[in-house]
Amino acid sequence: MHRSVIWPVHNLKKDSKLDILQKSVWGVEGRLLCKMSNRGVETIIVEVTSMKRKKVDYGKYGYYFLIPFFLVYLLFQLYPLLYTFFLSFVESKQVNNVMTTPRWNNFENFVNVLSQQKFTTEGSTRVWIATDALKSIRQTLLIWIINFIPQILLSLLLAAWFTDTTVKLKGQGAYKVMMFLPNIITAASISVLFYSLFSNSGPVTIWMKNIGLISKSYNFMNSAAGTIGLIGFMQFWMWYGNTMIILIAGILGINPSLYEAAMVDGASGKQQFFSITLPLVRPILQYTLVTSAIGGLQMYDIPSLFNANMNTGVGQPNRASNTVTMQIRQYAFGRTPDYGKAAALSVILFICTLLISLIFFAATKERPPKQKHAVLKAGGEN
């Protein structure tokens, strides 16, 4: 392909002539055509005959730098993920102290998770859906809801206060740090701390009994509501600071001229919050909701250290604080490991997470605003 470049003559030095192209830096070869006018050489047209430009391919270094990530991802994320799916369809469990070799057994693991042999005083029946495994999913969602609703409300309120330009809170940094602090402590410590405070002879329990807030015989550890309420509170307490910081960042991203315009129009703080802040911070809210749901479904550390049976690891009382991941661990690493069953429950957890995330995405999707007024069209086209 021949390409022509128009070379303005003032770019040429007097003696340069052809060698300017021979020295060309970019490996461009071509010939010169002169355009003459009555004033002499006016323009030189360079006809490029070949463009053997040496390309320095910086793009490939990007890929080199990505290799470690992909290696780690393939080895420690993708492979276990696919292997879990494989395991959920095979029988792989310990029988008489020996692990069986994986044997394909279709959907039997899922059947074992979704149904369970329940014994009563009369005998035993196979129960569907009302199984311990599915109860663990229900309890996990319950704990997550107990923690998330107050968390998002308080975080929004605090974020709105901290970003309010008319209030201008003093010492904001100190407050933010204080509210974020619980997130820095490890979940294990918080769990143990709350256990000490709320156990039957813990100071808070005794104080509550003394002022008559709870009855003398009440024991948080023996009450399902007490235990999961406390676990929900711990999650809330740990994470509201974090959510608040994210929401503050989201609100600060909103164009301040919108607020200024609203103030000029005489909008109240409440109106500003509901008409400007809330609609515009929605993508951030969506992000918080989805990440919190994923994290909440995988809740493990706090409940497993708070009120769980020492020998079996089952969340007490009556499995109320037994979350899905705890149940998976009990299946996979209990007295008689059953990897197939654990993998099946993991897959069910995966599907649940996927469904819940999709529902949240759909529910918080931005819709085009409804037209409230007729739009006057310019000109009389009708």
């Binding site: 005083t121 156990s199 020998n311 009382p317 008689t336």
Partner: protein, 478 residues
């Protein structure tokens, strides 16, 4: 500047590489040196070992104990000792290595830092068998011993030249327990763990249970008396027991049949009795309702609880540790406790060997030293770092008679004779490798019964069956 940076980077990387290389070569050279020195000693000891082996076979038919093994570094190969905490390592450091410094180079302690009854511990030991440091000696918790005993790596002690008769001085129940189905001795223990009752003298006096151990014992001599006393203690504003779990150990040893019989779940009538008893005590408010092994359970030892079902290690370590520095220190006494149909026990640690022992002679010597050597057992009873109740009848009796067993936390009481009396009749033949899990299932179901989630003992039994079916894949439930 650029050149300087490059030079700097090069020199740094060289330095790192060289230091790595240096590490590698230096450790190589030390092991080489070790090999030469140990090779020399092993040649010397080989002769004694063979003569000993010959003498072992002579005495095997007799009931007399064979001659104790002599200290040896064997063939100089490493002996890896695996355990779950620093206790055994401390014993090696404070006794074995002080007595025989040359064993320091041969015996290596591996602390897995996992719960002794956790599946992680078993996994850790199993993984070691295919690694660089295959276990030669494995510490096994009483609850997990039956599980470890049937693992592929487990081997009878006779396979490393350990003469079973060395262990004759031990309390009989530890010998019976450690024998596998073929009657081979699979492990030995350095301490015995008879169950007793420890109580607060000041609370007993305030509750009117008497001021001497004899009087208090009379007030808790059986379950009827125990219950009557519990009521008195409650009326005086105290609790009889701390956690509901505290009753479990004594009661589970009252069973006449094991948890699992012929691969099927079996629930002994003693379990029903235990459930009814705990429910009765729970409703009456005799428990402080703490949970075993938590902070508030520990703290309750110096608060308002009359007593605990304990054992020697519980008294010297758990109790003494928790009450030291509090008013309760020195105010505890050990008594035999309620007279049960059977004596009971709590815990214990057994030393096992494996099928990948590189240095059998030294391994056998170390196990002998720790569990059969009367000299060590005697010293370990009074050494503040161990304070064992020795698993040796003769040493234990000496300790009781000499009065050396007095314990400060008990206000100078010497509990050893009570321990010895309570060893009589301990029977661990019902142990199965499902016990830890099944005890856990029992506890969960029992709590539901106590709090009213389950309304009858039959419901609890049904719940135990449901949970067993779900959690243990190779036990049938009918």
């Amino acid at each position: 500047m650029k050149k300087f940076k490059k030079a700097m980077a090069l020199s740094l990387s060289l330095a790192m590489g060289l230091s790595l290389a240096a590490c590698g070569s230096s450790s190589d050279s030390t092991t080489a040196a070790e090999e030469t020195t140990t090779a020399a000693t092993s040649e010397a000891s080989d002769t004694t070992a063979t003569t000993e082996a010959a003498s072992d076979t002579d005495t095997a038919s007799e009931t007399e104990a064979a001659a104790a093994p002599e200290e040896t570094t064997g063939n100089g190969e490493k002996v890896y000792v695996y355990s779950w905490n620093s206790e055994l390592g401390g014993i090696l450091d404070n006794f074995l290595f002080k007595d025989y410094p040359e064993l320091k180079d041969v015996v290596e302690y591996e602390n897995l830092n996992q719960g002794g009854t956790s599946s992680e511990y078993l996994t850790g030991v199993t993984n070691s068998m295919s690694g660089d440091k295959p276990a030669s000696i494995v510490a096994a918790d009483n609850d997990e011993f039956k599980t470890l005993e049937v693992q592929d790596f487990a081997a009878p002690l006779s396979s490393i030249g350990f003469d079973d008769s060395w262990y004759n001085g031990a309390f009989q129940y530890t010998i019976d327990f450690a024998k596998n189905e073929d009657g081979k001795l699979m492990g030995t223990a350095w301490q015995a763990t008879p169950g007793v009752f420890v109580y607060r003298t000041d609370i007993a006096e305030k509750a009117g249970l008497g001021s001497t151990p004899e009087e208090v014992q009379e007030n808790v001599k059986d379950w009827d008396a125990f219950e009557a006393s519990a009521k008195k203690v409650k009326d005086a504003g105290y609790y009889m027991l701390s956690s509901v779990n505290d009753l479990e150990r004594p009661w589970l040893d009252q069973r006449d049949s094991a948890w699992v019989v012929d691969g099927a779940l079996n629930i002994d009538p003693a379990v029903n009795e235990y459930l009814e008893l705990t429910k009765k005590y729970y409703d009456a408010g005799y428990f402080k309702e703490t949970q075993q092994w938590t902070d508030d359970w520990n703290a309750s030892m110096s608060e308002d609880v009359l007593g605990f079902f304990g054992c020697p290690w519980f008294v010297t370590w758990t109790l003494a540790g928790n009450i030291s520095g509090t008013d309760a220190f020195g105010k505890y006494n050990v008594i035999a406790g309620p007279k049960l149909d059977k004596a009971w026990h709590w815990g214990g640690t057994y030393l096992m060997t494996t099928n990948k022992v590189a240095n059998p002679e030294t391994t056998a010597f170390v196990i002998w030293y720790l569990t059969c050597n009367e000299d060590f057992l005697k010293r370990s009873t009074t050494d503040p770092s161990t304070l064992n109740f020795p698993n040796n009848e003769k040493v234990a009796q000496d300790l009781a008679d000499s009065g050396d067993g007095a314990i400060d936390a008990l206000g100078g009481q010497n509990p050893v004779q009570t321990y010895i009396d309570n060893v009589d009749g301990i029977d661990l033949s019902l142990a199965t490798n499902y016990d830890t899990t099944l005890n856990g299932i029992l506890e969960g179901a029992r709590d539901n019964y106590d709090t009213g989630e389950l309304s009858s003992v039959d419901d609890v039994i049904a719940e135990i069956k449901t949970q067993t079916q779900d959690q243990i894949t190779d036990v049938t439930v009918e």
